[in-house]
């Protein structure tokens, strides 16, 4: 399916390794205040699986693969919409102390 003739296993492993390191570095600095929004945000981000589901569904190779792909799109889209919306809803609530009246 690819001109290059199959996936490059080593390149994928390298990306996994580096992204994992970046993830550790960045997420270790997230304030504990925000761990609940962190979880809903990363959840929405990993719903990027939707791109794979879109291709599986859109190719329409077999009825079964189209149906399975469509359910996967629905599940991922639910996570994207609810994940980003609820993260923003929670973050809006975090306010600084108001100046004393």
């Amino acid at each position: 399916m690819h001109e290059t003739g199959g996936p490059d296993v080593w390149a994928l492993l390298m990306v996994f390794l580096l992204a994992g390191f970046v993830g550790f570095q960045v997420i270790q600095n997230v304030s504990r205040l925000l761990h609940t929004p962190l979880m809903s945000l990363t959840n929405a981000i990993s719903a990027i699986a939707i791109v794979a589901s879109i291709i599986v569904t859109g190719e329409q190779r077999t009825t079964a693969s189209t149906i399975l792909g469509a359910i996967a799109i629905g599940a991922s889209m639910t996570n994207i919409v609810s994940g980003f919306l609820i993260t923003d809803r929670m973050l809006k609530m975090f306010k600084k102390r108001e100046p004393q009246k």
């Binding site: 925000l34 589901s53 994940g83």
Partner: protein, 467 residues
């Protein structure tokens, strides 16, 4: 033309990967956090539009229908009460796992037909399906327990760990058989079925108090299943985003384990719930000193520093807005008020912070356990609302206690401790709390919302009089 579309798709993926990293970077601090959400949304939109340009897409009908259904489900799920956020989170891990598992089945069925299942592909598919479906049913179980559709107490039986490990072993052997000969589709069905069953069995023995850890681990699994999907589909964006999610879940799991004094291997093998099950030690009844709401109001008003220790009980009683009223009254009188947040307070990491932020308590006043413990010996009054095990001094010195070694908030070291409870019933872990019978502790019996409401009322009536 299709070459151009391919380039556009790839550019959108690189853009998305960069924006996702920035998104998490900006989430580090509350001041920039909302920008992080915006970056995530833009990255996601770019990747989705980039994918829709993909030349292999033959029809958009089902794509559009599924996107519409997902949106329709997602909007109400984003508006749940904040006490229900842990259930929603568990449910979204389930959806993530489901998507990975289903795409794995779809790719298997396509590739087994045209004979293009290389060893690498089948290995990646087996891992994807295993992680995806374990996350799916495991998270559904967790959501059910959090929503209290399924009994929250741990359900245990003899040899449980052996049964679980045996099932996992069979699934792995079946997976290995598939790697040797990918065309044996009944083995694939076995892997799917056992993964689904294993997810259920893994969560059954876990009690409500362990939910913060469980949710974090499932978060990590959901991320890793996305990584496996990326390996199957040769998609580096999926690998990147999945690795970020997996790293986040892993870090949160470690923090939760430390906060409950559990080893990570202990948690990975699903042996939690045992600590909770071994509780229930009957202690001798010591005298308890109790106070009225008016007494407490006077004590708080005359203090110069007050630390509130909230627990999930506060959220269950919906008392956080009463807490906010007391906070306002005290701050108006110049009292220094802080909140001591234990990492496992609530039902998921950071849950208590969100519940207090909803009640408009400024986030600078929410202090982590280690930082507040330094201040507590100089604190005039500690007010414990709906927290129990996280303030039990037995964790520090009583080696026979099931929670021995768990880091706690040192409420007993303050000059005066006031604990609100419905009655003297023990908490989650079923352990007596010696804090309640300590010499410097006063008990305030009654429903948190009612009692705190009375304190707030007494404080506001006072404020007009006196100095």
């Amino acid at each position: 033309m299709s070459g151009f579309a391919h380039t556009l798709t790839q550019v959108s993926y690189i853009l998305a990967a960069a924006l996702f990293v920035f998104s998490l970077r900006w989430l580090n601090r509350p001041e920039t956090a909302r920008r992080g959400v915006a970056a995530g949304v833009i990255g996601m939109a770019a990747a989705v539009f980039g994918t829709l340009l993909h030349p292999e897409i033959a029809s958009y009908l089902w794509i559009v229908v599924a996107l519409a259904v997902g949106t329709a489900l997602g909007i109400p799920l984003s508006r749940v009460a904040l006490t229900a956020v842990p259930q929603r989170t568990a449910l979204s891990h389930a959806f993530g796992g489901l998507a990975a598992g289903l795409v794995g089945i779809a790719k298997y069925s396509l590739w087994v037909g045209d004979g293009s299942l290389t060893t690498f592909r089948i290995t990646a598919i087996v891992i994807e399906v295993l992680l995806g479906f374990v996350t799916f049913t495991g998270s559904l179980m967790a959501a059910g327990k959090l929503q209290e559709i399924i009994p929250t107490r741990p359900i245990t039986y003899r040899g449980q760990n052996y049964v679980n490990l045996a099932l996992l072993g069979i699934a792995i052997v079946a997976g290995a058989g598939l790697v040797i000969d990918p065309s044996r589709w009944p083995l694939f069905a076995v892997v799917v079925a056992l993964s689904l069953a294993f997810g259920v069995l893994l969560i059954i023995p876990i009690g409500g108090a362990d939910m913060p850890t469980v949710i974090s681990i499932l978060n990590s699994y959901a991320g890793l299943s996305a990584v496996a999907m990326g390996f199957v589909l040769d998609n580096m964006l999926l690998v990147t985003a999945g690795a970020l999610d997996g790293a986040s879940g892993f870090i949160l799991s470690v923090i939760m384990c430390r906060a409950m004094n559990r080893s990570f291997t202990n948690v990975l093998f699903g042996a939690f719930g045992q600590v909770a099950a071994s509780g229930g030690r009957a202690g001798e009844q010591k005298a308890v000193k109790s106070a009225t709401a008016q007494d407490v109001a006077d004590l708080l008003a005359n203090a110069s520093s007050v630390v509130v220790v909230p627990g999930y009980g506060m959220a269950v009683a919906q008392a956080q807005h009463r807490v906010r009223e007391i906070y306002d009254q005290l701050v108006k009188r110049g009292v220094d008020v802080k909140f001591a947040i234990h990492p496992v307070a609530g039902r998921m990491p950071g849950h208590m912070n969100v519940l207090l932020a909803e009640a408009d308590i400024p986030y600078e006043s929410l202090v982590e356990m280690d930082d507040i413990n330094r201040d507590l010996p100089q604190t005039d009054v500690v007010l414990v609302v709906g927290a129990n095990d996280v303030v039990n001094p037995a964790a520090r010195h009583d080696k026979s206690s099931p929670i021995y070694g768990m880091p706690i908030i040192d409420a007993d070291k303050a000059k005066l401790c006031i604990a609100n409870k419905r009655s003297m019933n023990p908490g989650f872990a079923g352990i007596d709390n010696e804090l309640y019978t300590a010499d410097n502790t006063l008990m305030l019996f009654g429903d948190a919302k009612v009692m705190l409401g009375e304190i707030a009322k007494a404080l506001s009536e006072d404020s007009g009089l006196g100095h």
